[in-house]
């Protein structure tokens, strides 16, 4: 399943905000077909790394290579078009559109149904079947015609994943997909991520170490903007520096 070819690699990534160094010399490589976790205490710079990798921020220094192509200078929409698609920490849905519309919006671009301003909305009905499949896959079948704003937090996250999957990305970057979720939701989303990852690469930021140990092939630990450790969950969790960085918040 897991090949050794890196799909995404970053070298010497540094991000400075007016003298404050949020990310310092981060070198990271994600192997194709793996589930890779990025963990670390609060303020370690995990979300900044995500923003850098998906080009929502431009690094002060460093290089990012995705599938052999240098994407360091690209715009975020272009990166998404290459199949490197992210989710957000704060659930990113289109709140006043229905669940079905949310997913259809993602489907519209690859289907070339995004710029036609002279056609009726019924032109999009060809996307309904595929959209419903994706909605079904994340367990939101019963809510398809509700505005996204009416969904519970966990279901919004599920909708976000369905929307991301609509692009059929080669690689997903999930920013804390389980944050703020109840026990039941966590199990469901874990299963979902495992299913997604069967033919995709996933890089996820996650605080719940049970989930990380359960789901991820490889773990990179970030603290104060720098890489502290990198390797399998067992190796990383045995590392004394990692235990120290986490201190009281350490798992078990």
């Amino acid at each position: 399943m897991a090949s050794t070819q890196p799909i995404l690699s970053a070298t010497g990534l540094t991000m400075e905000f007016r003298g404050f160094v949020a990310v310092k010399n981060v070198t990271l490589s994600v192997d194709e077909g793996t589930i890779h976790a990025l963990i670390g205490p609060n303020g370690a710079g995990k979300t900044t790394v995500f923003n850098l990798l998906t080009k929502f921020l431009t690094p002060t220094r460093g290089q990012i290579v995705y599938r052999g192509a240098d994407i360091t200078a690209m715009k975020p929409a272009e990166v998404a078009r290459l199949g490197l698609v992210r989710s957000f920490q704060i659930s990113a849905v289109f709140p006043h559109l229905t669940v079905l519309d949310n997913v259809r919006i993602a489907l519209q671009r690859p289907s070339n149904l995004a710029t036609q301003f002279w056609r009726p909305l019924s032109a999009l009905s060809g996307l309904d079947d595929r959209a419903m499949e994706l909605i079904e896959a994340v367990g939101l079948r019963a809510y398809a015609h509700l505005p996204a704003v009416e969904l519970s937090y966990g279901r919004k996250r599920a909708l976000e994943i369905a929307t991301t999957l609509a692009l059929d990305p080669a690689m997903l970057l999930l920013d804390e997909p389980m944050a703020g979720m109840g026990h039941e939701d966590i199990g469901r989303i874990s299963d979902l991520i495992r299913r997604i990852a069967q033919n995709r690469t996933v890089l996820m930021v996650e605080h719940n170490l049970n989930v990380v140990s359960d789901l991820c092939d490889r773990v990179t630990v970030l603290a104060r903007g720098e890489i502290l450790a990198d390797g399998s969950y067992d190796a990383v969790s045995a590392d004394p520096r990692v235990r120290e960085a986490y201190m009281g918040t350490e798992h078990e």
Binding site: T54, F56, K75, P76, A77, E78, A80, R81, V85, R86, S87, F88, A92, V93, F94, P95, H96, L97, D101, R104, I105, A106, Q108, R109, L113, A114, T115, Q116, F117, W118, R119, P120, L121, A123, L124, A142, Y143, A144, H145, L146, P147, E150, T163, L167
Partner: protein, 324 residues
């Protein structure tokens, strides 16, 4: 899923109500010139289309342009010049005005779209002021005098627009065309993406949408439709002056849209009718119109922020949802 069935069952009823109301509105517009002074009605239709075009940007993309007078007034100059100096047929003159406004919209939009919020509004305002200054200086607009005495001529060579009723029905047809175009744009695959950008721009970007291009597209469409309104106004009133390109006009269209209801299709048209009716019928009285419009504006912002159409729609929506 009780919540979901509520949403679903309310939709056909809403649609039926909208169809009925739309038919009544069109019928009323058809007989209106026999009851109300046609020139007044025509100015309402022109401004209503202008406000609806403006609302396409603010209501459906979330962009506040403070320079829309450029497209309305600019088109009026282009149309007036083509018809008066070049002797063009009026409809082609109006279409030239709309095309000119679209070109101006491309330039202004291209420069402004890179900025957001208040900066976007400021750039459009600054470019609008620049355009107004150009209009004051270049010879073809005739400075303070404007282009006067534009002949109405014969539409397509055989409909005499000097007949007030003929002029009215042509204006109504242009308004309905523009209104339908806006309705189509809003309810199209493209309009869907515009809504997504308004709702959550970062998410739209992360789904691979080049949002700047969509915003620019909407900006050009809005400018072209504002130009359609401005060109028509030049034919109806037979002149084009600086009043239509100045920032006060940009402010007025914002006021009309706010009063009527941002993001509703008919709201801006209602707002335009209200503002013009007040200006028109209070012009003769001693009461200062601007004070009254100011009071109405304050009341609107304090009490019904969705605007007239927005509040009415909300009322019906909650009623339908409760009854099911």
């Amino acid at each position: 899923m009780t919540v979901e069935t509520q949403y679903l069952s309310a939709q056909p009823k809403l649609r039926a109500t909208t169809t009925v109301l739309g038919a009544i509105a069109i019928a009323a517009l058809l007989v209106a010139p026999f009851v109300v002074y046609p020139i007044f009605l025509m100015s309402v239709l022109c401004f209503a289309l202008f406000a609806c075009a403006f609302n396409l940007l603010i209501g459906y993309v979330g962009l506040l342009s403070f320079g829309h007078a450029t497209f309305f007034g600019g088109a009026a100059y282009f149309t007036a010049h083509a018809v008066k100096v070049w002797g063009w047929e009026p409809l082609s003159g109006i279409l030239l005005g709309a095309a000119g406004a679209a070109a101006l919209g491309f330039v202004v939009g291209f420069l402004a779209i890179r900025r957001q919020g208040i900066y976007f509004a400021m750039i459009t305002l600054a470019l609008g002021q620049m355009f107004a200054f150009i209009c004051l200086q270049v010879p073809f607009t005739h400075g303070e005098d404007g282009i006067q005495g534009v002949p109405r001529g014969h539409l397509l060579g055989f409909i005499d627009l000097n007949e007030p009723l003929a002029m009215y029905y042509v204006t109504l047809a242009i308004f309905l065309f523009g209104f339908f175009a806006i309705w189509r744009i809003v309810n199209s695959p493209f309009g869907n993406i515009l809504k997504a950008i308004r709702e959550n721009e970062r998410r739209a970007v992360s789904l691979g949408y080049r949002v700047d291009r969509y915003k620019l597209g909407a900006f050009v469409m809005s400018a072209a439709l504002a130009g359609l309104a401005g060109g028509t106004k030049a034919i109806v009133f037979q002149f084009a002056t600086l009043t239509d390109v100045q920032w006060q006009m940009s402010g007025e269209v914002i006021l009309m849209t706010l009063l009527g209801g941002i993001g509703t299709l008919v709201g801006p048209a209602i707002g335009a009718g209200l503002v013009l009716a007040l200006q028109n019928y209070l012009a003769a009285s001693d009461f200062p119109v601007t004070v009254l419009i100011g009071i109405i504006f304050v009341v609107c912002v304090l009490l019904f922020r969705r605007g007239i159409a927005g509040e009415v729609m909300e009322f019906f929506k909650t009623r339908f949802n409760r009854s099911t």
